[in-house]
Symmetry: C2
Subunit: 404 residues, 2 copies
């Protein structure tokens, strides 16, 4: 059986994801599609709309064969570590390809870009430092440095100002650095741009656009043209049970409590907190009755919204710099859901896996990386401020992978 | 002007407190009564019914001249440190007497008991250790050891199985150990015992009994015979604004969140957590939808309910063993409320005070002990789960002492 891997968040699973899934299968002619998916907290540093079990069910309902959890330590990390964790897991699962959507759409440009940047690594890093010292954000500094390095290039290169190109670049870089057997493939992302507003006359919109409509109208009808009906059903069932979708705005009283029980100096111990931003975080938490107003007070040219949200995710989940430094590569494979087909693939592979395959967590309580996933899961349910959701606390200990 | 000090929590201020207040004034023939009062978290290790500002107003309305905050580090400590902090502050405020209610009612017995225990200190401590090794709680071990030491005494001694006698003993011990100028006085506590149920045909009931009725019936009419009308008015105003009284049951979602964002090992860093009880705390938090069911799972012969609650208070407020060890004596005098008479006394004293008198905290942000009080205040308002109460966050920075 031939497998292809994809890296996903499915927040929520929509028609664009369905297109990516089907294209990945046909372009690589694979029997099995394996999705490495973030847990309850995402790479943009925020709680997911619905929990990982529900998102994994959406994925399998739509045709994914196997959903593997990307551990918290990678799922909430900056792009390079996110990509490293994901590609390492897909390679461990013996996928022949990983297939990502990109604005670029051509693999050659990605390879050229990787060669250019690794050949000129020292110059590139010097340029990045110079730009950062001018007070701009890290992504902007990367981009300016890249422009400088690539000015005289004669080969086609990737436009690294596009969000999916950036992620794609990091996947490819990770595959090179890990010396992985897995090979890249990319699909041209044509319709919705990452941050676009959802256009009601279309059937494809970005997850960001869809969430914006959902939180604006608080009504699933308003987004149903963008999602497979299986996703709508899962979202409906979730909302009936818990009366809330995950968002920092909803989590704000809990996040605020956690920020304010620390001194500023203590906040600086949490992962990704740098350059004194703990002072701004604490001061803004004192004054802000909403997450929106909190963020407006701390965002700056130097820190992107996403980067600040990742810091907040780590504060919320009690994840420190010390812990971050101990997390190098995923240490286990944890399936969340699978089809019969995915199950057969996993069974065929079992003997050859280098990492432990975790179906029940009870035997793995000494694994700090896994315990962090379980903790983040519990804190997600508590943050929802729904008594019903509290019953989900500990479900990560009880749940076996969903097979459908 | 002659001042007498009392040590109080006023949770809430009731007719028994009024009796104690009036007796303290008349017995010592004082012009000024100064109350050292716990802040938003109390010695039994729980959030107060209403915040410290409201309780300070109740006190002054009922005749107290000056209410001083007992810093968190002492207010939530075991009896000996609680007493040390309170007596030190009253001595610093040049009170001639401190006056406490006791089941005993006679000072001589307290002095005899102090002499007996300090003379036989080594034997007493050995006996305590022996009893603790048998698996009983610390207060029970104290009591058994005391029985042993006092068996052959020929002088009248205090019965240290009674809660107000225990506190009184610690006040006297503190005054001796601090070499304080302040002198003790005691009033015989005749009517309600500390933990008694409130009897509706009486006008005096214990605060514990009153809170039990209040949380049972959620109705101020049911307790109004036990409280001065000024207290009822304050409670009414508070409840109209915030729709909640402080209690661990109400704080439970927040406390549970805070417990579960730690590993068991991390919990052990918090003050008073010993002997592996962090494991039981974490496991019970995983399973418990209510504070009551949580406590039923962790209470044991070794740990009293109150001691566990103090641990939880420290977890909630992020107060560690390290911090506890740095808190020796109060480092400031912070008035919360006063009468004109209290104000005149304070003015007459200003030049002679050894400790800084803090009316506005802005100039004292480097004082860790004070910052802890402010933090606990903020976390109290957040724990109430009332959006209106969130507006009180930071009020400790803004509020000047109430003068009425």
């Amino acid at each position: 059986m031939k497998a292809t891997g994809i890296v996903v968040e499915y927040n929520p699973f929509h028609n664009g994801h369905l297109y990516h899934l089907n294209q990945s299968r046909s372009k690589t002619n694979s029997d099995v599609i394996i999705a490495v998916m973030s847990g309850n907290f995402l790479q943009r540093g925020e709680p997911a709309l619905v929990d990982k079990w529900t998102r994994a069910k959406m994925a399998v309902s739509a045709g994914v064969d196997l959903v593997i959890e990307l551990p918290y330590a990678f799922a909430t990390a900056q792009a390079s570590d996110f990509a490293k964790g994901a590609i390492f897991l897909l390679d461990s699962l013996k996928c022949e390809f990983f297939c990502f959507g990109s604005e670029e759409g051509s693999l050659d440009s990605f390879h050229h870009t990787y060669q250019l940047l690794s050949t000129n690594k020292a110059d590139y890093n010097t340029a990045i430092s110079t730009f950062i010292k001018q007070g701009i954000s890290y992504p902007k500094a990367l981009n300016e440095a890249y422009k400088l390095i690539s000015a005289n290039s004669t080969v086609p290169l990737v436009d690294l100002s596009k969000p999916n190109n950036i992620l794609g670049y990091h996947y490819i870089e990770a595959a090179y650095k890990l010396n992985a057997s897995i090979k890249p493939e990319t699909i041209h992302r044509v319709i919705a741009n990452y941050h676009d507003e959802a256009n009601p006359s279309e059937t494809i919109a970005s997850a960001t656009g869809i969430r914006k409509v959902l939180f604006g109208e608080m009504n699933l009808t308003s987004i149903q043209s963008f999602l497979p009906s299986t996703s709508i059903t899962e979202l409906q069932t979730w909302h009936t049970a818990y009366k809330a979708f995950g968002s920092w705005e909803g989590f704000w009283p809990s996040l605020r409590l956690i920020i304010l029980r620390h001194t500023k100096a203590q906040l600086a111990n949490y992962a990704e907190i740098t350059e004194g931003i703990e002072n701004a975080i604490w001061d803004a938490a004192m004054k802000s009755e909403s997450f929106q107003s909190f963020m407006m007070q701390i965002k700056s040219k130097r820190f992107t919204w996403t980067r600040i949200q990742r810091m907040l995710t780590h504060i919320y989940n009690c994840f420190t710099w010390n812990e971050l430094e101990q997390m190098d590569l995923p240490t286990y494979i944890r399936p969340l859901a699978m089809s019969k087909n995915g199950q057969a693939y996993l069974n065929s592979l079992k003997k050859d896996l280098q990492l432990p395959l975790i179906s029940r967590v009870a035997a793995h309580k000494e694994n700090d990386m896994l315990m962090l996933d379980l903790k983040a899961s519990n804190l997600y349910y508590l943050g929802l401020q729904s008594t019903n959701a509290h019953e989900m606390i500990g479900n990560d200990y009880r749940n076996a992978p969903i097979i459908q």
